[in-house]
């Protein structure tokens, strides 16, 4: 499959700060690609480079095979972008802002626009200064979806949206990808990425640390077990690939590496099982193990 976005060895310096430090990213045509990283990892900076809003200090970047800095207008005609923090013109109504933003790309599809306003339960007649963060986000989302594009760039698009609206957003992403569009979704909300994305790139401190399909990455995750069983703690803990085994009441609780599941399950079967709960591997878990130290310290830089 041809790549819609291709970045290799991307660097960006702001004065002395290295916001991006050799980042690699490849997004294939038609996929929904998750772009994960903690705050300050460089997600927004990467998106701005891809948009040609800022110029990379080094590395190669192509969007639709074009150079984002020099051919930004040609690229922008074919994409929709929703920034992470949407600031609107206080004197314009939401409806005016939607029309203005779509007019910059050639105008909205009116039926689509009306349908989106309906689905997002949005009141377009209020002045923008009265909108909450979620409603401002809706303006950018409606404007992005109201005109078909080949590529959609979302920077933490659901921040401020309630779960019902998050579902509307997911439906829209499914609609555009069914039509063949490509989506790059930056996020630190893992459930969102898990539900939507085919492939994921994880970055940290301006550098790519993992990239692959979700199942590729599952080898890095552990499955949580909670079993009511005759086996004792020491026996289970001694099995290869088992971590944190402990007894909680009558239950035995432990975690298992994904590639060690089969031997652990047979060992349990031998000891007899009266009850079993298995928590599937989650990106949350993967994420925490990659960034556990960062999350504990709290990140100071913002992307």
């Amino acid at each position: 499959m041809p790549s819609i976005i291709e970045a290799s060895g991307l660097t960006k310096r702001f004065g002395r700060v290295r916001a991006l430090d050799g980042l690699d990213l490849a997004v294939a045509e038609g996929e929904v690609h998750g772009f994960l990283g903690p705050n300050g990892a460089g997600k927004s900076t990467t998106l701005r480079v891809l948009l040609g809003l800022i110029r990379a200090s080094g590395g190669e970047t192509y969007v639709f095979g074009l150079d984002p800095w020099n051919d930004s207008v040609a690229i922008h005609r074919r994409l929709s972008y929703v920034p992470g923090d949407v600031d609107l013109w206080p004197g314009l109504t939401g409806g005016e802002a939607i029309d203005l933003l779509t007019s910059l790309r050639g105008g909205a599809d009116d039926a689509l626009r009306a349908d989106l306003i309906d689905q997002f339960e949005f009141d377009p007649r209020l002045k923008s200064r009265n909108y909450s963060k979620g409603n401002r986000q809706k303006v950018a989302l409606i404007a992005a979806f109201a005109r078909p594009a080949e590529l959609y760039l979302f920077d933490e698009p659901t921040s401020g949206l309630d779960p019902v609206m998050e579902a509307v957003f997911r439906r829209q992403v499914e609609r555009v990808t069914a039509g063949g569009a490509t989506v790059l979704l930056s996020s630190h909300i893992l459930s969102e990425v898990e539900q939507l994305c085919d492939r994921v790139t994880i970055i940290r401190a301006g550098r790519t640390v993992e990239t692959g399909t979700l199942s590729d990455l599952r080898h890095l995750t552990r499955t949580g077990f909670s079993a009511v069983t005759g086996a004792d703690v020491a026996t289970v803990a001694a099995l290869p690939g088992v971590y944190d085994a402990r007894r909680e009441g009558e239950k035995l609780v432990f975690e298992v590496d994904t590639n060690a599941l089969a031997p652990v399950l047979s060992a349990l079967a031998v000891s007899g099982i009266r009850g079993l709960t298995v928590a599937p591997p989650s990106l949350e878990d993967l994420f925490l193990r990659h960034y556990g130290d960062d999350l504990a310290r709290g990140s100071e830089r913002t992307a």
Partner: protein, 535 residues
């Protein structure tokens, strides 16, 4: 509250220091200039004889109060000192009240155990302190130039009183309007009204005791700046009118406190109706947006231009009468107002139109500065992600700037021309409109220079943009008074504006200015291609 006051003062320390110091320096500089140029009683008497009988000079300067050195200096600059204090107070008050509220800082402060009005109280406290600074700066500025101590201190007090009065006005404006931009415009309009009222009042003043000591007519008594002038610091001084300024400050504070206690955080007093669900056809594309954002400002500046035009026509007859009454004036006046044109009426129109040029430059600079505020407010990111070239944003702003200049000049020129027709001078219509339109190159130059700064040193855009305009204004209005060398005055684009109406009209300097402006604009647009968006 003291803690809030300290925090606000800390944020503002450099800005306020610059305002206060430049007010003091302006006082010292102009006093020294007048003392050296009109050191003798004869020169001063000649000057004031001319001034007292010329409504145009009275309007753009002040209230004649005899021929002592201090009185002459007061006549020349006290109005402008008062306007500086008023502007400082307005910006300060709005910045810390509506400005903070708009940016969500007030919400943080409001969630702490302080009363709803304590932030406002802290702001007004800071305003009072800053104006005490102005009082000291002006007193020292005048005193150090060798003027009597008593009069210098009274001048300082008069300036500071106007400042405090406008703290109160701006506090109310910040409660009424919903955005800091609207609040600044509202309070700015109040300053303009104060200036215009006293201009009318002083221009129509009548001799009081001596021919060189005028009593203002009633419009001056409606103006906070007019009240300050009635102090006559170097004549028969009377500090009592300043109580009117203080009372206005008190009334403003009371109203603002009542309003802040009654309204919700973030809301204005002026209510809001639901707006359009769809954008009008004109609000489309980046130029449509740039125009829409600037439209309100254009209306505001045009209202100023309209007043100025009516003012020109309304004073035409008194001006002609003055010429008829004293033919000797005609020859001497040419040296006092910009350009050396023949008739007094010509000089008068040229002087008013020079003011109109400043208004046009102001509206143009504001159009360009908006690119910067759009960028810092995060709006540019949304627009630039559309199919809009980076240089388009600057070119759009310059296009809007030129359009705004033309509108302001046409409004000023037409209203001036029509006012002349109404005053029985139909022959003046065409030349008045032309005198307005020739201001375009200089005004465009300010927009182009601001655009270049915007691209090269974005952080300095706002101070440099307005600073250039202020320097241009001072060089144009006071360059002759300060006896500045020609090369310094030539820096200002206004110096190169053809003096219309007049006999010796030189066009090529304006053409050169226009070409330089076009060059600057193209350079700014080209350089945008090399610059990151600031986020």
């Amino acid at each position: 509250m003291l803690r809030l006051l300290r925090a606000q003062a800390r944020r503002d320390r450099w800005q306020l220091l610059i305002w206060i110091l430049s007010t003091g320096l302006f006082a010292a500089f102009s006093a020294t200039a007048v003392l050296s140029e009109f050191g003798g009683l004869r020169e001063r008497t000649a000057l004031m004889t001319l001034a007292a009988s010329n409504p145009a000079l009275l309007a753009i300067r002040g209230l004649p109060d005899g021929v002592s050195a201090g009185s002459v200096i007061s006549f020349q600059v006290s109005t402008y000192l008062a306007i500086m204090a008023a502007l400082m107070s307005t910006f300060l008050t709005v910045r810390h009240s509506r400005g903070d509220e708009e940016r969500g800082r007030s919400e943080l402060v409001g969630s702490t155990p302080v009363s709803r009005s304590s932030s406002l109280a802290a702001t007004l406290g800071l305003g009072a302190l800053a104006n005490v600074g102005v009082v000291i700066a002006v007193s020292l500025g005048f005193g150090a130039s060798g003027l009597p101590a008593g009069g210098s201190i009274l001048s300082g007090l008069a300036t500071g009183a106007v400042g405090i009065a406008f703290c109160g006005v701006a506090a109310v404006a910040a409660q009424l309007a919903r955005s800091s931009r609207a609040a600044n415009s509202l309070a700015g309009a109040a300053i303009a009204a104060a200036f215009v009222l006293r201009a009318f009042g002083d221009a129509l003043g009548t001799p009081d005791g001596s021919p060189l000591r005028l009593a203002s007519s009633w419009p001056s008594w409606l103006s906070p700046i007019g009240w300050a002038q009635q102090v006559r610091p170097f004549g028969e001084a009377a500090a009592l009118p300043l109580l009117l300024d203080v009372a206005l400050a008190g009334a403003g504070t009371t109203i603002a406190v009542v309003l802040v206690r009654r309204r919700d955080l973030g809301s204005g007093v002026v209510g809001e109706r639901p707006g359009r669900a769809r954008a009008a056809r004109s609000l489309s594309g980046s130029f449509g947006l740039a125009w829409r954002l600037h439209r309100g400002a254009v209306i505001g500046w045009s209202a100023g231009a309209l007043l100025l035009g009516v003012f020109a026509g309304g004073l035409a007859d008194p001006a002609v009468a003055a010429v008829k009454a004293n033919a000797a004036i005609r020859d001497a006046v040419g040296g006092l107002v910009p350009g050396g044109t023949a008739g007094l009426l010509d000089t008068f129109v040229a002087a008013i139109m020079a003011f109109l040029g400043v208004l046009a430059a102001g509206v143009a600079v504001q159009a360009v500065l908006r690119v910067r505020s759009e960028e810092t407010d995060g709006h540019t990111e949304l627009v630039s992600a559309g199919a809009v070239h980076r240089s388009r944003l600057v070119l759009d702003a310059l296009g809007v700037a030129v359009l705004s200049i033309v509108i302001v000049l046409v409004v000023g020129g037409l209203s001036g021309g029509l006012a002349f027709v109404a005053a029985g001078h139909p022959d003046r219509f065409g030349i008045t409109l032309a005198a307005a339109l020739v201001q375009l190159p200089a005004a465009a130059m300010f927009a182009a220079a601001s655009a270049l700064v915007l691209v090269l040193v974005p952080r300095l855009t706002v101070p440099v943009g307005w600073g250039l305009l202020a320097i241009g204004f001072v060089l144009g209005q006071f360059g002759g008074l300060f006896r500045l060398p020609d090369w310094v005055r030539d820096i200002s684009p206004f110096t190169h504006t053809p003096v219309l109406p007049g006999s010796d009209v030189r066009w090529w300097p304006a053409i050169v200015v226009l070409l330089v402006a076009v060059g600057f604009s193209l350079a700014a647009a080209a350089l945008t291609r090399r610059r990151d968006l600031l986020t």
